[in-house]
Symmetry: C2
């Protein structure tokens, strides 16, 4: 089974450790803060108090044997950057590092992070879209132009079928599925009737999806 | 056009302000930190230095006229909680508050937050799923049992078509779309050939999706 090391037990690090453990993986938690390490002993496979930049400690922990090391150190950007490059130096095959902003993220890419994540930025963008559109529920970004979104049914669609609404020819989007309570209607046909409470799972160009979510 | 107020210009607050402005909305940024307010003047519609718990200041800003107020104060949980309840007291119709953990979130719900978000936790869970499955790229949760996921093409699917692979009859999942470079093939037919590098957008029951992402 895979084993992971999470460096930094902040809110992000703690949730990551707990979810990986819940999924059945072995997780080593590392932090300089003794209290956080003490707490982490309750839910992590192992928890060690250490400075993630201490080469000797990391070597003794066999850090390069982990399937992935996640650098979840936040406010201290210098520690975050130096820890990341050290991981690559020590031969860790997959290093995931958390960036606080775009410039920080560029530095991490250049010094060898295999994956850079922007938790605050990504969630902010997701929230912005939810706030912008009353009926916007969730989304997957397929490419820079295409997405899949979930929207609650516009009132003008209720009790009509897909052909009458003309979703594909007029609005240039594809209804991939309809969520009706706990039921999922997959790849609905043109005669599929829509009812109040339906949630539409739609694929299309971002601009067309924005127009769709403005429909009343 | 809608107007929003973001209280707290941390990494999350800043990204939220920028995205809402990019979408064309008016955004008021508020923080106690003068430097952050100075920076925010460059990208927010308005930026004001203030303590978000100062009732008189908030009233003079006409806080209850905003379509939504987002409490993006982080580390200071007490400020975050007191600011949230104050927003509701002042008649703000929609208050979104950022929670650092589940208990904090429960408090926010009880005191009237219209929406509670957990950016660090949600991103950690998303990352955990990506780390767990080699080819797991993104996912939308449709219901407690069904999801849409993106996976990179299993090697055994390359140069076969959907009928040969038998995705629907054998694996009980539906390929909604194929991402090929910048191209998107929507609702592919049974004769659709798959090639190396394809990314499959698949809908199914969570257990069947897990089985699918284990295929080599
Ligand atoms: N050199 C280091 N070695 C080990 N742990 C460290 C080091 N530097 C910082 N940390 C720890 O990393 C953790 C996360 O950092 P911090 O709280 O600054 O980030 P954050 O981005 O605000 O976190 P989050 O948003 O996940 O709550 C802290 O618990 C801190 O003690
Ligand atoms: N009472 C207050 N009024 C206005 N702003 C406040 C108040 N308390 C804290 N802030 C501001 O909120 C901002 C975000 O808070 P903080 O940095 O503690 O949270 P965070 O969760 O680590 O942020 P992020 O993860 O978004 O970077 C800070 O810039 C801080 O100055």
């Amino acid at each position: 089974p895979k084993q992971f090391a999470v460096l930094g037990i902040g809110r992000f690090g703690e949730s990551l450790i707990k979810e990986l453990v819940r999924m059945g993986y072995e997780v080593l938690a590392v932090d300089v803060d003794a209290d956080l390490v003490q707490e982490a002993m309750e839910y992590a496979t192992h928890a060690v108090q250490a400075d993630a930049m201490e080469e000797s400690v990391l070597k003794s922990l066999g850090i390069k044997n982990f399937d992935a090391v996640i650098v979840a150190i936040g406010e201290n950007i210098q520690s975050n950057i130096f820890t990341t490059i050290l991981m690559k130096e020590l031969g860790v095959k997959k290093v995931v590092a958390k960036a606080g902003n775009a410039l920080h993220g560029k530095v991490l890419e250049k010094i060898g992070a295999d994956m850079v994540i922007y938790p605050e930025r990504d969630m902010a963008i997701k929230l912005a879209r939810t706030l912008a559109s009353q009926n916007f529920l969730e989304q997957i970004t397929l490419s820079s132009d295409y997405s899949i979104i979930e929207i609650s049914i516009p009132r003008s669609f209720i009790n009509k079928n897909l052909r009458q609404i003309g979703v594909r020819p007029r609005m240039n989007v594809t209804v991939l599925a309809i969520r009706r309570g706990d039921e999922i209607i997959v790849v609905p046909g043109p005669d599929q009737n829509l009812i109040n409470g339906d949630i539409l799972v739609v694929l299309g160009h971002n601009q067309d999806l924005d127009d769709l979510s403005d429909i009343d």
